[in-house]
Every structure is written in C-alpha cells, then in structure tokens.
Symmetry: C2
Subunit: 203 residues, 2 copies
C-alpha cells in the first residue's frame, strides 16, 4: 500500500524569504507540490491562472466557502485569499508532499482539519536583518515598515505552535535545513509502518 502524502505548513514573517526558500526546495525535490491559492484579486501581467493563483470571482469564492471547499481564507484590503481543499486532498492521496505557504492564523485552522500536518516556521536571524530586508524592497513608507515589523514580532511569538523552526541567515543553508526536515519526516514510525509489516510478513 502506498503511503498517503504529507501536508507541510510553511510560515514566517513577511520579508523573511519564504518564497525564495520554496523556489529552491521545489526545484530540488520532485515529490514536493506547492499549494496554489484562490484569490479574488485581478490577474496581473505575467500571472497564469492555476499556476500563480486560481483567479475567481468573489461570488464563486463565497459559494466555495459555503460548500466547505476552502480550508482557510483571509481578506487583505479588497481581496480575499484562500486555500482550496480539493487539490490539496488530491495531491495527498497521490502520496505527494504538499507545501502550503500560510500565515499563522490560517495555519492554526488547517492544523485543526489536518492534525497530521507538519509545520515549519522560517525565522529571521534578527529583527534588524528583517527590517533591512524589508527596507531593501524600497516599496514602503516608514509607517508601513513599522506596522510590518510589529506584525512580524507577533507572528514570531506564535512560532511556538510550530513543530520546527529554521533560521534564514544563509538562504541555501535554510533551504537545505527545510529539505532535511521534510525528508526526515518520511521516516517516522507511523509512515514506515507498512514497510515493517511487509518485512516481517515475508518470513
């Protein structure tokens, strides 16, 4: 019997480098599948439906929520973002490792639905480094930066809810560490149980 896949919740404050880490590890491991979010915002140039996001109308979004087809969702400004249930369940059934980039509140909702989910929090080496990274983007004013850092601090305080914490000091090292965690979790007794039965049966 094939083992069911694994759900990995991947969080960390804005600016810590989640997307870069994800790009690196998805490139290195074919069994990893990045979850694609639903959004009601307009498609930007260069974005593809079903690759960057599933772009849907607000009406459709709310119908999906009512039908229990959205695992978690949140509104940012005018737009709603959420995680669709169907593709996640399909990939898990296929034995894939599904990675969900998600903020701490959404992660908490998904833990309740998928208690076997493994969660990894990406931590900046210091708040100063995080601030520098946000400033380097150069897209925000002082007030926005201060607000973002305050949110980051609150999120880091909630990292206690996570199974693993990886510091993103060096991007390659952090990516390797995240990959090591995912790899190692394939060898928990629970996931290897079928193999043990197989070895003992064949005597």
């Amino acid at each position: 019997m094939q083992n069911k896949g694994m759900l990995v919740l991947f969080s960390g404050p804005s600016g810590v480098g989640k997307d870069t880490v994800l790009d690196i590890i998805l490139d290195k491991d074919d069994m990893l599948q990045r979850s694609i979010s639903l959004t009601t915002r307009e498609k930007r140039q260069g974005e593809t439906d079903g690759v960057d996001y599933y772009f849907i109308t607000k009406d459709r979004f709310l119908t999906m929520v009512e039908d229990g087809q959205v695992l978690e969702y949140a509104q940012y400004g005018e737009n709603i973002y959420g995680t669709p249930k169907e593709p996640v369940d399909k990939w898990l059934k296929e034995g894939k490792t599904v990675i969900l980039k998600i903020e701490v509140k959404g992660a908490q909702k998904i833990r309740e639905l998928y208690p076997d989910a493994v969660s990894i929090f990406l931590l900046p080496p210091s708040m100063q480094v995080l601030e520098n990274r946000i400033r380097r983007r150069g897209t925000e004013n002082e007030q926005d930066i201060a607000k973002r850092l305050e949110i980051a601090k609150n999120e880091i305080c909630r990292s206690a809810d996570y199974d693993f914490v990886v510091v993103n000091d060096d991007i390659d090292e952090a990516s390797n560490n995240v990959l090591s965690i995912i790899k190692a979790l394939n060898f928990t007794y629970k996931r290897m149980n079928h193999k043990i039965s197989e070895v003992i049966k064949n005597v």
Copy 2:
C-alpha cells in the same frame, strides 16, 4: 545559552549494517559522538581501551552498577556489556549528539531515563536480505543462523517503540537518511526556543 545535546538510540537486528552506517555518519558530522560501551570481556588484538570499549573487571562493573553509573547492561555468554552514564552526560552537557548503538531492551531502559532521547531503527529491506548478509559472514552454523533470524524478527516487531525507521537497502542512502533525521531534529521548536527569544528580545 547553549542548547543541551541530543541522545540518539540506534538499533536494528544483528547483520543489518548498524556499524557501517555509524562509521559513515560519524565521518560526516563532527558534532556526533559515538558512545563507548563497558565490557568485562578480554581485550582483543587491535582493540584500544577507551576507543573500542572500556575494558573493566567484573567486580568493577558490578560496583558501577550499584553506584548507578551504568545506564543499562546485559550479559552475553560469560561477558557483561553496558553503557556508562558519566561520558554520555558529559557529552550531552557539551552540546554533542551522542549516538548509542543498542539493542531494543536496552533502548527501552534508556528511554525511561532520558525521555527526550530520539530513537532510530535500522530495518533490512527483507528477511531474505538479512539472512543473506548473515550467511555471507560465514561464521555461523545453520542452527545459529536460524536463532539469529528469530531474534531479528522479534526485534523488528518492537520497532514500533522507535521514533524513526530507516531501511538499509543501499548503505549510502541509509546513512544519508539517518543523518537527515539527526539534522532535522536540531530544528524542533523546543531546541530552537532560545533562538526565538533572542530574536524577539532584540527589538
């Protein structure tokens, strides 16, 4: 504050390749420390006291047991083998990852004393492969081989007590998988807690 080290219990049936895996991983990671056993048997040619074993008398062994200086011990034929407490505690205090090659009963005793210990069971790909490996050694008669396989089967049944199970099909792959597990366990929330406090404090 430096994190305390980690105790890793490493088990598997005789002939599965525990020593080869240990040699490979100890060579790759400087922070790994192999625990050295006590024994009352005679030192063989080429063996060094304090490297291969601590060679001690039976009287000394029993005194150490009485003084609570032996974590677990077992008698095989005339000889007693055991795990000394003092070096393990010293290495853990130094932050090292201490690996203990140990059979399943001894592992159970150590889990009671060190509930944070992580345990890894090395599984043969099949009983047939294990039998072939034992036969290839060529040192045993049919009766001994049958007995060894029966013990192996009982041990494999107790792999449910272990946190992780790694199949030793290819020795390099198995060694890498064991290393991944040990590496990943350095990033559990509990072990990263000090780093999180440090990041939040420096705001």
